[in-house]
Amino acid sequence: MNNNETDKCTLCGMCKTNCPIYKNYLTESMGPRLKAIAEKKNLNNLTDQELSAIFINCTICSACKKECPNDVDLNISKMRSELIKRGIETDAGKEMIINIRKYGNPFGKVKKGQKFNKLYCC
């Protein structure tokens, strides 16, 4: 998130309003405000595992941006790209990449007429 965006964020929590992940768990750490806290002041103090937990728990639906009274874009896709560049990836993501490289599709070896063994969610 660029500095202009972080400066605008007041950590007010309004972005939780329609966040599907927050609404399911009803805990701050699953919602967008933790992403805002992390981007605002804590990126360097968090471990790779913690950063992954913060930014992967998200559907990238942008409902947080829509509800933000200060028009802050948490830019979560960009945060994820940065993490992937640093080699921080979910297990499912890693498996899919291997499958694409090896078999040309994310599902792995698939015989004609056969159902996929495993569906992935990144």
Binding site: T27, L34, N70
Partner: protein
């Protein structure tokens, strides 16, 4: 021997207690720009669990911070090596009584959820803070929240029939003593249930939008409408904010009425005016005016106060019909804020019209107010385990 985390886990289950770094970080702040350190976070789901949590905290000398949606603006949820009790999962609407026009709710229900459920009965809970989409009823009772329609409906305290609260004496009160508990900012105990009064859902609404050149013109117009029966809200935007919103260099007055007598009646036009109002925060945020105050100013001094804000180049907006102003400040404006509160006191206003005292405004409380609160605190939370050092400074925990 069990440690405090294990003891709490035995009450609410392992998955409902956390001391992870991420959870601690998540609960270190609220909307007030203050921060602190939680020791544990607990998510209870019923009053029995809360009773046992309080007992355990009392026996082991830990202090507790009740928390709703964490949208509070005065630091009421900031922990100081405390256990945070997140009440968001106690979010059931227990009983709607359309005949009596009441509803019984758990504290974690949000105003929006409640009003959505009441729609089919043509009823509403009419207190509408700008944070209504997420603010919880527990948080609103604790802060005695007001909001956009305060001029018609008053504050939260006007709409409560009964509160259930478990206090720091480990006692449960089902009480109509609303005065002691509504607005007590979680310093006496945890509100576990409330019976709220409801009113008819307004069938229609429309708006007036005036653009005025001076504070005098603005206040004259407010006075013209202030006492009309059909008024839902009277909100203003000052000329600094107007400029920042890429509007003109004038004061805007937006008046909402509960019938079709306003000039702005068509849906498209209504959306336009509501979008203007909702865009205030973003425009001020962009210019780094992110600190949000809420003084109440008596009608006689409102014009003078607006002139003073303009002279000090402080942008503002607010529920002027009810006397609540929202001057906005940048992070390095502590001196300006101090000056403003001195003026507020001088003209007989209050430093907080709706957000509460919490940690941010303790220094402005009078000795008389402090003595009153101290007395109640000694009665309801004699061991000082709830929201320690919020509103007033008291002896350390566990004494």
């Amino acid at each position: 021997m069990f440690n405090i985390k294990e003891k709490m886990e035995r009450i609410v289950g392992k998955t409902n207690v956390s001391d992870s770094r991420l959870d601690k970080l998540s609960y270190s702040t609220d909307a007030s720009s203050k921060s602190g350190h939680p020791l544990l976070i607990i998510w209870p789901t019923d009053r029995e669990e809360i009773k046992n949590i309080i007992k355990t905290a009392l026996n082991n000398k830990y202090d507790l911070v009740p928390r709703g949606a964490g949208t509070g603006l005065c630091g009421g949820c900031i922990p100081d090596e405390s256990i945070v009790i997140d009440l968001s999962r106690m979010n059931h609407i227990l009983k709607i009584n359309p005949k009596k026009r009441t509803v019984i709710v758990e504290p974690g229900v949000t105003v929006n959820e409640l009003n959505n459920a009441l729609k089919k009965y043509n009823l509403i809970f009419p207190i509408k803070p700008a944070s209504h989409k997420i603010a919880t009823i527990g948080g609103m009772i604790a802060t005695n929240a007001a909001g956009m329609h305060a001029i018609k409906y008053g504050k939260t305290k006007n709409w409560i029939e009964e509160i259930e609260i478990i206090t720091g004496e480990d006692k449960t009160y089902n009480t109509m003593n609303i005065k002691s508990f509504c607005g007590s900012e979680g310093i006496f105990g945890i509100i576990t249930q409330a019976t709220l009064e409801l009113t008819d859902l307004p069938k229609e609404h429309s708006y007036f939008h005036f653009k005025l050149n001076t504070p005098k013109e603005l206040i004259d117009k407010v006075n013209e409408y202030r006492y009309n029966k059909n008024i839902l809200s009277i909100e203003y935007i000052d000329r600094i904010t107007s400029r920042l919103m890429k509007q003109d260099n004038r004061y805007h007055l937006i008046i909402e009425v509960s019938d079709d007598t306003g000039d702005i009646r068509e849906e498209e036009e209504i959306t336009k005016i509501e979008t203007l109002r909702e865009g205030i925060g973003a425009s001020l945020g962009k210019e780094k005016f992110i600190i949000f105050e809420d003084p109440w100013i008596p009608p006689k001094y409102q014009e003078y106060f607006l002139e003073w804000l303009d002279k000090m180049r402080i942008p503002s907006f607010g529920h002027i019909g009810y006397g609540i102003f929202h001057p906005r400040f940048r992070k390095n404006h502590a001196e300006k804020i101090k000056k403003m509160f001195i003026l507020v006191k001088k003209v007989g206003g209050t430093v907080s019209g709706e957000h509460g005292i919490g940690l941010s405004k303790k220094e402005y409380l009078s000795e008389k107010e402090k003595t009153k609160i101290r007395k109640l605190k000694k009665r309801y939370d004699p061991k000082n385990i709830f929201n320690r050092n919020k509103i007033i400074d008291m002896q350390p925990r566990g004494i």
